[in-house]
């Protein structure tokens, strides 16, 4: 399940999308909006995506993962629009027969997401706003 959404993310939905009887583990990563960035206070973030290309790149990440690990299901949800401090911006869930594969593949998914998925964020702070890469 790969989604770009404008409203709240659902960890439960991501988990249920990847849960299978053959799995002994579901690893979940949740990215949240931090109130400080590089010494600056952040008021809120604005996320913007190239949705069609973002979904295609998420599918590419799934392929890369399936070549490296034995996993069952992969779900990635990313939220766009204005997000307040503490709000979840991204959820990754990976299920696998065993926890090692699930944990490693989940970590790989979020790192690759930051590298190749066309989603941008703008940090809005009291002294101005800045476009930054997701990994910054």
């Amino acid at each position: 399940m790969f989604e770009i959404v404008e409203d709240s993310l659902s960890i439960e939905r991501a988990v249920s999308a990847v849960s299978k009887p053959t799995c002994g583990a579901v690893a979940i990563f949740v990215g949240t909006v931090r109130g400080f960035s590089r010494g600056r206070q952040v008021s809120y973030l604005e996320y913007e995506a190239y949705p069609e290309m973002a979904i295609a790149k998420m599918r590419q990440i799934e392929q890369e993962i399936r070549e490296k690990w034995e996993v069952e299901g992969i779900a990635i949800q990313h939220r766009v629009g204005r997000l307040g401090i503490g709000v979840a911006s991204v959820v990754v869930a990976v299920s696998a027969p065993h926890r090692e594969q699930a944990l490693e593949a989940c970590a790989y998914a979020i790192e690759r997401l930051k590298q190749i998925v066309p989603i941008w964020k703008k940090e809005v702070s009291p002294d101005g706003s800045y476009w930054v890469g997701m990994g910054s």
Partner: protein, 87 residues
């Protein structure tokens, strides 16, 4: 000269500089991504200022400046996604 129309989608800082996220552009047949971008660089000097950091896509696949575009193609103008690394 035969003109053709391409759809250009701009994001993040590039979208803000141009003032809109989607622009239809007429270019000559046989044009490249670079030719399409000259249309914007001539009108938006600030965009030219960040040209070196931009990554491009044609029909949602990453493409080089020299890649040719066809009638109806969608050209994406993508500022860096992650600190320093391209799409």
């Amino acid at each position: 000269m035969i003109a053709m129309k391409v759809k250009v989608k701009l994001f993040a800082a590039a979208r803000e500089i141009v003032g809109q996220g989607e622009v239809a552009v007429d270019v000559r047949e046989g044009s490249t991504v670079g030719d399409v971008m000259e249309h914007f660089f001539a009108r938006y000097p600030k965009l030219k200022g960040i040209a070196g950091s931009l990554v491009f896509a044609v029909n949602r696949e990453v493409a080089q400046r020299g890649a040719s575009v066809q009638e109806g193609d969608e050209v994406g103008v993508l500022p860096p996604v992650s600190g320093g690394s391209g799409v």
